[in-house]
Symmetry: C2
Subunit: 349 residues, 2 copies
Amino acid sequence: MSAMTRRIVLARFCDGPPVAEDFRIEDAPMPEPREGQFLVRNILISVDPGTRARLSGKPSYIPPLKLGATVGAFSIGEIIESRHPDFAPGEIVSLADGWAEHVIGDPRGFVRRITDRRLPLAAWLGVLGVSGMTAWFGLHRVASLKAGETVVVTSAAGAVGSAAGQLARIHGCTVIGVAGGQAKCDWMTEVAHFDAAIDYKATADLPAAIAAAAPKGIDVLFDNVGNAMIDQVIPLMRQNGRIVVSGQVDAYNSDESAVEGIRNTRAFITHRLMMQGLVVFDDLPNWGAAEAAMADHMVSGELVGRWEVLPGGLEATPDAFAGLFRGENTGRRLVRLAPDPDDFPKDAS
Amino acid sequence: MSAMTRRIVLARFCDGPPVAEDFRIEDAPMPEPREGQFLVRNILISVDPGTRARLSGKPSYIPPLKLGATVGAFSIGEIIESRHPDFAPGEIVSLADGWAEHVIGDPRGFVRRITDRRLPLAAWLGVLGVSGMTAWFGLHRVASLKAGETVVVTSAAGAVGSAAGQLARIHGCTVIGVAGGQAKCDWMTEVAHFDAAIDYKATADLPAAIAAAAPKGIDVLFDNVGNAMIDQVIPLMRQNGRIVVSGQVDAYNSDESAVEGIRNTRAFITHRLMMQGLVVFDDLPNWGAAEAAMADHMVSGELVGRWEVLPGGLEATPDAFAGLFRGENTGRRLVRLAPDPDDFPKDAS
């Protein structure tokens, strides 16, 4: 008797925006945990634009996925079988093992135990997951954010940016968000309570618009877009300004050689600027404290998440992913594979 | 009875490389110190390529010099009259008040007292002056240099670069210097004892040459050149690499819009890179300890300076400055206005 499960694999390499046909759903034997591992039944899986960089078959900043391999992704699920003494069946974990109904968890890799029952499970793949942690450690470790500073966040209605802007506001900073479209700007000012929101699509002179919203200049640029954006904001930065290189949306779909450069580097000397990137897994030993603080802010209502949970199960995942590149999503997009456990609040989505 | 002195002023704005005719020597009344100031007779004055940025009459990263104004510069001199209780006639100071035979010292501005009699006075305008301090704080404060790391220094036979490379070597690092010309490379390996010296003028593929000299990759890039250089070195950098933006020789003589950009910024995320500029006067409260440590290294012979002292007095200064842009100088160039005091070792130059 060999149980079966299902997973999604890369069927062909992507060239341009991904489409559902780039992937294939297939049956597979149920994975078997070894000593020190456990078997997880996924409840929610995440579709993330960053995955695109692995789908072209070409070397990139992360190794390319091979044809026929399971597509990697974050998920949350329930342990249904354990060969690890500290993890028991029934426990809820988030992990990063891919678009599959069942995955193997191994605490030597990435596994977070979810014990806080105050928030919907989906929150732990959004604000309380990698996106929110990137915002937290970008602001607090990389930029050493101080109360009273002025912060510009780009792609500010996205998963990382929306968390960064709110965390900066909670820290006592003036927050200016930049994003494309009126709906995103309305969300930033009305729901996330940023001090200003700028629709770059409706703004002829973006630096002038940012300067008008930041008359004292900018202390921290939390950038998710790329070089051209950074280059435009540098002349607005105050002495000892910090630039957090969080993401490069501009570059994910484009040829490296077509990317613009940062030219305004003389200001690094005259204005003592600092620019630094981060990979949030470096901060894993410190996630616990950040998760706890951010969960408190969510419970109190000060910090709101932007996510949506799509129905349809594993079959719906490839098109849910392709939809990111059609601009369909509002915040982080998740796909539901199974109902939430009874002891978590139900998701509003 | 009004004593007279002489100074050099800007006679016309520079367009392209400066020439002696851009300046004019003129008589002026002896400046009179106010309460809290003192009068200094200059002994050595410095000519520095960075001065060029102030001579075009156009706004730059520092305010432009007006026509008829005394040209700013570092100098060393003897106090000959004091209205400050802590500074007495006969004391030797370095200050930053310009190409003039007599200048006013004011400790509320930049004044360093020189009491260490173990080294020639000229050392305090070179390795122990702004150049050496920039090297020290760039490596130790900005880059947090650790023993065993690999450091690339550009413009590495220049005033700042030659100090940075030697300080990194003294700190136990592997040092690769990049400069133009065989003579500079010979100096780097034979006198400064860098581990490798690369003549960019004789190297078709500079990144490949650096990579060959740094098989483990680069931890710190101490850059004095500019964006195009930084962009070439970024792909060679190790995780957690630091880029010190010390100077931008490439940009001093060129139009800002013609400067190339830094395109390889994705590595800031994947390799957790950090880039930061510095203005060494921010570190003034900590110069004393750095000066003392570096003077010890010079006395022991571990750290050598690169400077030359030209004769000819104030009249010789404009052409000495113009000569920098004809590539004449070896290291920092100084002009002698008066003999060194007897209690300082004589300069070998």
